[in-house]
């Protein structure tokens, strides 16, 4: 407080009490919210249900698919085995032993000296000769070269006949068996004259 301070008359600026009271009003009425629509609930619940059902179905379908795949894979394996079995059979009957057995059953013999017919001028090249039953090396049965896979397989050329199932040995005569008689036709121990 300085000495120069002006002393103002008391009450010069006394506040004037303003006591105008606020108007009291009643709580305004809340506008009533609309009733929730049933459809929304149905959609929501239905949606959830649908999801659950879909999930279930999907899962069932998927696991069903797994079984189906498994079954089909099994079938594929089996068919693979079948195919292999069939192609093995084919290979076996394509073996030279089987073809030879069929040829021998028909009485076929091995060809002799080869000769060629030249197409350009029709000339015969080489010395043709007929195949003979009697050859210097008597051709033995086709079972001399063994193939146990075709033992007993029926021949295609002679109905009722089959590859000898017992002659699947090692390709030589049984040492205990009596030796074959000397063939004068093929086996004289001296140079032959024709």
């Amino acid at each position: 407080m300085s000495a120069t301070a002006v002393r103002l008359p008391h009450g010069a600026f006394a506040p004037t009490p303003q006591t105008t009271p606020r108007p009291v009003r009643a709580v305004p009425a809340v506008s009533p919210s609309p009733r929730p629509k049933l459809a929304y609930a149905v959609v929501a619940i239905g949606g959830v249900l649908a999801m659950v059902v879909a999930q279930l179905l999907l899962s069932v379908g998927l696991s069903q698919g797994a079984y189906e795949i498994s079954a089909l894979q099994q079938q594929q394996t089996t068919l693979g085995w079948q195919q292999q079995s069939a192609s093995d059979d084919l290979l076996e009957v394509s073996s030279p032993q089987y073809i030879a057995a069929n040829a021998q059953a028909l009485g076929m013999v091995i060809n002799g000296t080869p000769a060629y017919l030249r197409l350009s001028d029709g000339a015969v090249v080489g010395v043709p000769a007929a195949a003979a039953t009697e050859t210097e090396v008597p051709v033995g049965p086709s079972t001399l070269v063994g193939n146990s896979l075709i033992a007993g397989v029926p021949l295609v050329t002679v109905p009722g006949a089959s590859v000898d199932p017992n002659a699947t040995g090692t390709g030589v005569a049984d040492p205990a068996a009596p030796v074959a008689p000397v063939s004068l036709e093929n086996g004289i121990p001296a140079p032959q004259t024709r």
Binding site: A66, V127, T135, G140, V145, S148, V172, P189, P191
Partner: protein, 595 residues
């Protein structure tokens, strides 16, 4: 008021204690599960939810030079049984009524399907039960084929539930004994046991793979969970130089002669003269790799590679070629050949059959297969030089093919030759060879003096396209000059046209060079009265394409090279037909045999 709060506090304490105890217990359990027994539990859970499978890598095929399958892998099945469960079974018959089938009868059905004897199967079951009363595993049959498997599946469907099948891998040889001893065979574990199956095991064996998957309770893989943890690596395909058709015919041929002549065994080889590729190795008896047990174990060998013998006169052309190459003789060189020749060193040489004095040329010596003539002409060369020639022809060196169990011929160093051996080595006695060595030496002669390493394998090819084991570009070694080879082949041609067996050997229209051999054998110091009968030669004689050798051991009815001669002719005929060799257009060689 105070009393109330005390009770509250006590309750709180008890509650906290409970909570701490329970949490503590859970923590302990958690640590136990997550840390202490973690591995064990994880393993156990994986075991229940996951499966693993082996992805079988098939053993590679063996094919011939044209791709014909000689050995292949097949799926086979092992049949097992649960002995403790073997009991009567019930099944529904065709009328829809259920009937009871006694266990023995059901087992007999299994026996019929697997081709076994019922009593054998019963014994298997009894033995398993005797060992362990609760035995649930015994093997009934190994490696049954698919049709048997089908029959068993059918039986299982009809109630025989205590049999099981297990997939396994087996080996099949569709051509049976064709080149059987060369192809070889495998054991029950599918690993090679003989022949090339053994020698080339590393090429043929695949590496099995692994797969893992999650599975359902009934062992079905959950979709999308299968992971291949290791890819299987199939074995390689082994291609041989052998031609299976040719090989079959030659086997049939030699087996026929072995049978007709009562011989012990016989072999034929065909080699391509200009490449050294072996086109056929035919043997009788032959080995059927499908049924190895039908061949006695000591017979399961390749005689071409594994049997040694004294070759006899098939050596004479090699001696003649050496003499010509060294400039010590010509086809016209003259010699006076008696039945006996007693040289100064004390040796004693005689011919196979008594004969009058002959005035022979070198060609004539070969035509008449004169031991005394060969001896007198062969004297012109030092034993050291002659040894070097024989060594260069490959005797005593095996084939280089490293065939399992392969033998080497025995050519003693020349310093060890005694007076008799000095002479006998000129005509193939006192020296042991294998069939493949003989074929190799004749390859050198037929390839106009250049020796090539023999070749049996074209290569081993893998599915990814890599090919291994392709033989290196063969390096030719000159053994004799081209002139010496041609003159020797010419003289051998006159053996066919003028020699002992010309009736058995000549092929009209073709020029064939050949020499016979009748090898004596001494067993335990006793000279045997049976022989190794052989023929070796080449076709066509003027420019050989193929070398053919034939050997028969102990033919009984023709006890000489006469047994091998017709076989040689038929073999050459087949080679001509097989490879379409055209008839010769040039006149045959002409070397007079006498003067």
């Amino acid at each position: 008021m105070v009393k109330h709060s005390l009770s509250t506090r006590r309750r709180v304490a008890v509650a906290i204690l409970c909570v701490v105890t329970i949490v503590g217990a859970f923590v302990v359990r958690l640590v136990d599960i997550q840390v202490v027994r973690a591995d064990q539990l994880v393993t156990a859970s994986l075991e229940k939810t996951s499966g693993a499978g082996t992805l079988y890598a098939p053993r590679g095929n063996i094919v011939d030079t044209n791709g014909v399958l000689l050995a292949g892998s097949v799926t086979l099945f092992d049949v097992t049984i649960s002995p403790k469960d073997v009991d009567d079974i019930t099944r529904t018959d065709e009328n829809g009524e259920s009937v009871t089938v006694p266990a023995a009868e059901a087992l007999a059905e299994v026996a019929a399907a697997t081709g076994k004897k019922p009593e054998d199967l019963e014994k298997i079951v009894e033995d398993a039960l005797a060992k362990d009363a609760s035995a649930n595993f015994a093997i009934l049959a190994r490696g049954v084929d698919y049709s048997t498997y089908q029959a068993l599946v059918e039986l299982k469907k009809r109630g025989t539930w205590w049999i099981y099948t297990q997939q396994t891998s087996g080996r099949t040889y569709p051509n049976g004994a064709v080149a059987g001893a060369i192809v070889g065979y495998v054991g029950t574990d599918n690993a090679g046991l003989g022949g090339l199956e053994l020698a080339q095991d590393t090429c043929l064996t695949g590496k099995n793979g692994q797969q893992a998957f999650q599975r359902s309770k009934d062992n079905v893989a959950l979709p999308g969970t299968t992971v291949v943890t290791k890819e299987p690596e199939p074995g390689g395909e082994l291609q041989l130089t052998i031609d299976s058709d040719l090989n079959w015919y030659l086997q049939q041929l030699v087996a026929s002669q072995v049978l007709a002549q009562g011989a012990k065994w016989g072999t034929i080889t065909v080699t391509e003269a200009k490449t050294g590729k072996i086109r056929a190795i035919a043997e009788a008896p032959s080995l059927d790799p499908n049924d190895v047990s039908s061949t006695a174990s000591e017979e399961r060998r390749s005689r071409v590679f594994q049997d040694r013998f004294e070759p006899g006169s098939v050596f004479k052309p090699l001696t003649a070629a050496s003499l010509i190459d060294a400039g010590l003789a010509t086809p016209a060189s003259q010699v006076v050949a008696d039945y006996r020749y007693k040289p100064e060193n004390g040796a004693s040489i005689k011919d196979a059959l008594p004969h009058e004095r002959q005035h022979l040329t070198l060609a004539g010596v070969l035509q008449t297969s004169s031991n005394t003539g060969t001896s007198q002409l062969g004297e012109k060369m030092s034993p050291e030089d002659r040894y070097n020639y024989l060594d260069a022809f490959g005797f005593g060196h095996a084939s280089g093919l490293n065939f399992p169990g392969e033998q080497k011929g025995v050519l003693h160093p020349w310093q060890e030759w005694d007076n008799q051996t000095y002479y006998t080595t000129m005509f193939g006695q006192g020296v042991d060879v294998t069939g493949i060595e003989l074929a190799s030496a004749y390859q050198a002669l037929a390839n106009l003096g250049e020796k090539l390493p023999l070749q049996l394998i074209e290569g081993c090819s893998y599915p990814d396209g890599t090919v291994t084991q392709v033989p290196e570009q063969p390096k030719a070694e000159r053994v004799i000059s081209e002139k010496a080879a041609l003159e020797t082949l010419g003289m051998m041609e006159t053996v066919v046209t003028e020699g002992f067996w010309s009736e058995s050997l000549e092929i009209p229209g073709y020029r064939v060079a050949a020499k016979s051999g009748t090898g004596e054998q001494i067993i335990n110091g006793i000279l045997q009265d049976t022989f190794y009968s052989s023929m070796a030669g080449a076709v066509p004689a003027d420019d050989p394409e193929y070398v053919v050798t034939v050997t028969l051991k102990d033919p009984l009815y023709k006890r000489s090279s006469a047994a091998a001669a017709p076989v040689f002719k038929e073999a050459v005929l087949q080679v001509i037909k097989k490879y379409g060799i055209p008839p010769s257009t040039t006149p045959g060689a002409s070397y007079p045999g006498t003067y």
